[in-house]
Symmetry: C2
Subunit: 216 residues, 2 copies
């Protein structure tokens, strides 16, 4: 079997499990989002700010993926919501089977929202459907504003782009208008929000986006 054939088989098996997951999320009314970015674009810090904004008793849970370490799960667990680390041990993305397995001892009927933080990578996670309602791509202003053109796959598939670390904009050569334009070249209907987890600017819009999607 060629490499491409094997890859296709792996992906079609993943799609089958993801379809099952999607149906289970739907039946239980759980909004599931999948956060994807380069390493270091601020996924975990944004999640810290997000979780700390939720009222106690909010029915939210987090699955966080990394190749090694459970650092992120430890950072996120202190807000009191269920958090589980998925350590891929080498794989540069989460897949649907990892999600299915992690959900075995959680009752979806008790959740309103599941946030998945994927492994830091702009390429590998793109093709792996996790049954989520929406992929969200983070791009920090300390990266290049041409990233949407260089990594069109994920920017095409994500519904929302979060421009993160906006507080650093004065110190970096990042052109936010060019980044927006590049994102819309790849994905004309892309929603775009600007946030800073450090100053809190824009977090209200991000939380509003989540709330709107939850109430659909």
């Amino acid at each position: 079997m060629s490499r491409v054939t094997v890859e296709k088989k792996v992906l079609s098996e993943n799609d089958r499990i993801a379809a099952d997951l999607r149906e289970r999320y739907r039946q239980n009314g759980v909004l599931v989002v999948n956060l994807i970015s380069s390493p270091g674009s601020g996924k975990t810090t944004l999640l810290e700010r997000t979780l700390e904004s939720f009222a106690p008793g909010t029915k939210v849970a987090v699955l966080t993926g990394d190749i090694q370490t459970d650092n992120d799960a430890r950072r996120l667990a202190r807000f009191g919501f269920p958090v589980k680390q998925i350590t891929t041990g080498g794989a540069c993305h989460l897949d649907a089977r990892m999600i299915e397995k992690s959900l075995e001892d959680w009752d979806l009927a008790n959740l309103d929202m599941l946030i998945i933080e994927n492994v830091g990578n702009l390429v590998c996670p793109t093709s792996y459907d996790l049954g989520e309602e929406a992929k969200i791509v983070l791009l920090s202003v300390t990266e290049g504003d041409d990233k949407p053109l260089k990594y069109p796959g994920i920017f095409h598939r994500a519904e929302l782009m979060l421009l993160t670390k906006m507080d650093l904009l004065p110190y970096v050569p990042f052109d936010a208008a060019a980044a927006r334009e590049n994102a819309r070249k790849v994905h004309p209907a892309m929603e775009i929000l600007e946030v800073s987890s450090t100053t809190g600017a824009g977090l209200d819009k991000w939380l509003g986006w989540l709330a709107t999607r939850r109430s659909r």
Copy 2:
């Protein structure tokens, strides 16, 4: 054939070509380094500063990899040295065959140094030997200082870690001492240099590192 078997076959074929390349570099006295980092850690900007520091007539060439676009090759070509873009069209790393093919119309006897800028990714490029003398990993201070623990593969294999964007250190929660310590947990003999392509701080040490390796 299982996925793992196919992956192993692809890697052993890559290793065979890489060994040929390594022998050709050696015969022609070309120092080859392979720059690896997340997207947006500053590889291309560091290369701009590096190329502009070289005297005209320096026998250096650059191969720069991206999934899409030839933006980086255009940025680097203006310094007058040979530069070629490798567009992988989806693959998240360069492989030895891509390098072999790109070198077909360059005479290695006319080169002293070849700098390879890999696709922005902390995972995929790790396993693909390009016949290089040294892998160099870049970690910018706008990323997390725990990245060496989360991506041990590349930090273990790289000889040199460049901490980049040091000028942004006052504005970010990055702990440079922790980053150094984490890198040395994974790779005790790791060489570490701190640079800023914006202010120029530390570039002399980086250029000195290259010069020393060239003269070996």
